[in-house]
Amino acid sequence: MSLAIKPGKADLHWLLGAMLLAMALHFSHFPLWTSALIVLFMAWRLLLQWRQWAMPRLWLLLPITLLGVAGIYLQYRTLFGRDASVALLALMLSLKLMESSTRRDYVILIFAGYFLTVTAFLFDQSLWVGGYLLLPVFGLTACLVGISYPHGVLSNRLRSRLSLTLLLQAAPLMLMLFLLFPRIPGPLWGVPQDAYRAMSGLNDHMQPGDISELSLSGAVAFRVQFQGEIPAQRQLYWRGPVLWQFDGRGWHMAGNDHAVEKLEGLGEAVSYTMTLEPHNRRWLLMLDVPHILPAGTFLTSERQVLAPMPVRTRMRYNGSSHTQYHLAAGLGSRELARALQLPPGGNPRSRALAMAWQRELQTPERIINAALTMFRSQGFFYTLTPPQLGDDAIDDFLFSSKRGFCEHYASSFAYLMRAAGIPARIVTGYQGGETNPVGQYLIVRQSDAHAWVEVWLASRGWVRLDPTAAVAPSRVDSGINTALTDNTLLPILARQDHAWLRKLYLNWDAVNNGWNQWVLGYNQQRQLELLSRITGTTANWQQLMLWLTGSLLLMALLLCALLFRRKRMPIDPAQALYLRYLAKLSRRGIQAGAGEGPLSIQQRAGKLLPQHEAEIARITRLYLALRYGPHAEPHAEPHAERKTMAELRSLIERLDC
């Protein structure tokens, strides 16, 4: 616009402060040298301002810029990933500071600062971060207001007030846009590989040690809200990947070209709503065994639920399951072969044992019992830190170490079953969960990860068997924390000690859950649901746009009314007090006439209330002194005026009539 508008000293301070706030969140994942360089540039810019030094020349800045880009490239081996591009943006922004003095430069920096703020959400979208980032947004806006005033001399108070006003008045508009702006489900293009790196969860295969490693994480896997009572802890098996293929050490998923196994529910189905944390895999956890699927999902033959795309954002879905059931009354020959597959050699002792059982006990039920009894009675031990196993892992575990986590028990049990001719498969998932009394929902963490076995019996179909329960019954009855003797390895939130900490945590989790459900999880589906609830009909895009436009217009009109109303002149505090005194008098029947002066009121009141005559006279004198006396002059001592005001106030308050 104009040359007269040149940013001032205060503008620079606001800009640097706000940018530092915006960058601070990134410092945790930037390489140290990047953070140090950014702070250095900011300090340098501040010094330039203080000392009134000249801006650095291009021949100095250009090599620094190139070095910075090269540094980022060497650090991340790319310039385009999520981490690399954010680091690059931050570094370039701080460099841009070094050549910024005009209003235009500042505007660019402020907008880039806004953008940098939004990139923080790529890493974390928690309530904390959301709240914290309002600070840089406030600071940047204050700076924007500051530079729109000539010579950058707007007072700090005024610029903060205006920034706050702008943002507060923008809040209702934001809410409307958030609720009604048509959401397009992302992604629009391929997102960088590293965007979902940090997600943890179950895998499509299971090696000894996988689940125990996962159990060390206190991260939430999903939260469940039941319609009705929460089922008993021992029924809370959350079905995840089903593994068929055993390679001698680990279990793997199998191809999915079989018919879906038939489920016959016994008793009432349980309905619930899941909020699954993103894990970058396609499967959706469901209560064992799912019977009604969330919309738009698929069912594999072994009744595992798959989403069409890997779950990369928190996902909310409804489901219904039968905890009592008959699954797959008949098994085709291909399925049978799959369920009996074993590698040709290895684990001779386990094989011999299973074959001996098959010979002696004959029925599957008795073989299963024999195996479970073995786990129960032969000194097996449930631990997070089992010893390393040799080449014949099953033999090693069953006959020598006897110490293991759920994957060891499930794996060896399934092995024994298959060796004894009983179709068996491994199911991984989660078991149990913690009820949050604050929100009446269940929190299931990675530490609840579990593996169990399903065996197929001709009379009952697939039957769930949990060999871990034979070793450590409390694991399924009351959770992992009671089942482990060495539970100090578990994340603190999965343990029972620190009751107050847990309570605090559960409260916090309830808040967070609400945040996830209503803020982070708000998507196209919920948007249309909301609109349908308002209009009572099925909502569509056009309606959404109509509502959005309408509500925005309404908001803008309301804002206009608020902004353009005539501001009332502030009432003089002395007059306000005097009006209270008149109100007190009128209760005693002394009405002030229109245009009647204070002195005439004093005379009438003094006659009617002789006991208060002195006070009334004093009140009138003080009032007149404040309003019309020498104190009313602008150069009067504010101190004296305050004293008079205080006396008037106390007199009027004490005047009891």
Binding site: M1, A4, V145, S148, L162, A170, M174, F178, V191, T313
Partner: protein
């Protein structure tokens, strides 16, 4: 209207929105919408910052060509709100800024350069503001409806004032009476030197009196366009302007002869202005 910064923010917001969609960042949506809302609110604030300001423009005092015509404008605020950083400019000039306090007034003197003698029309006055935020610019164009009288440009190298070579009762009488020769009192006229005010007489009587001296009342000079050297009309007018200024400053009585206009010799501010005005408005042949 969105300023360049406003368009810039629109682009940044679009980028943020695309990012939020692509990565499904709910908080990204929130921040984008918050900033979009902020921009919209700032539009209203910017508009309000300018709305209902009353503008008064005083007729600018006459100037010599080449000087700036000074338009004094007064902005009156009666809505109870401070109006900050109101920019005012004439034509395409660099604007000046003023703050108008709530229920108060702010004044600005805006100069616009003059080139030619005669009536100088004050160009369109543009009041604008980008405050707060600078994302939008509210503006209002006004025709001030005033004009400025521009006297001819005084000659840069002036010839000395013609003395006594004028026809009629010229300066031949000039040597008779000295400056100190008191001739009587006359009513004070604007432009009389304060040295000449008879303070004693003024305090006695009603009104102000200036002492009049013989030298003044009798020494007079006629300035005639026809006898003024110069290559063209404008140059001669410049020379006349220059002489009028000299004579006025030297407290001489002078008269002016122009085609179609005769102004009898006198010495006063009003006379001075009348002469210059006649020069300014003289029609070119």
């Amino acid at each position: 209207m969105p300023s360049r910064a406003g368009w810039g923010l629109a682009i940044v917001l679009f980028a943020m929105l695309t990012g939020a969609i692509n990565y499904t960042l709910s908080l990204g949506f929130i921040l984008t919408f918050l900033l979009a809302g902020m921009a919209l609110v700032s539009l209203l604030h910017t508009w309000r910052n300018l709305a209902w300001l009353q503008v008064e423009a005083a007729p600018p005092p006459a100037v010599f060509a080449g000087q700036d015509a000074i338009l004094q404008i007064t902005l009156t605020e009666d809505r109870g709100r401070d109006r900050l950083a109101i920019a005012a400019g004439i034509g395409g000039q660099e604007p000046l800024f003023v703050d108008v306090p709530a229920n108060g007034t702010g004044t600005l003197a805006i100069g616009s350069p003059t080139l030619k003698r005669g009536w100088h029309a004050i160009g369109t006055l543009t009041l604008s503001t980008g405050f707060p935020g600078g994302l939008f610019r509210a503006w209002s164009k006004l025709e001030p409806g005033v004009r400025c009288l521009v006297y001819p440009r005084p000659a840069s190298s002036s010839l000395p004032l013609p003395q006594g070579n004028m026809p009629g009762r010229g300066g031949s009488l000039s040597s008779q009476v000295g400056d100190e020769d008191f001739a009587g009192l006359r009513l004070y006229q604007r432009g009389d030197s304060p040295r000449r005010i008879d303070w004693k007489a003024s305090s006695r009587e009603q009104g102000m009196y200036s002492r009049e001296f013989h030298a003044e009342s009798q020494q007079q000079v006629w300035l005639d366009l026809a006898q003024t050297p110069g290559s063209d009309l404008e140059q001669r007018l410049s020379q006349l302007t220059s002489w009028i200024m000299q004579a006025h400053d030297a407290d001489q009585r002078y008269g002016l002869r122009l085609p179609g206009t005769h102004i009898a010799p006198a010495h006063s501010q009003a006379h001075y202005e009348a002469c210059l005005r006649a020069l300014a408005l003289l029609e070119a042949e």
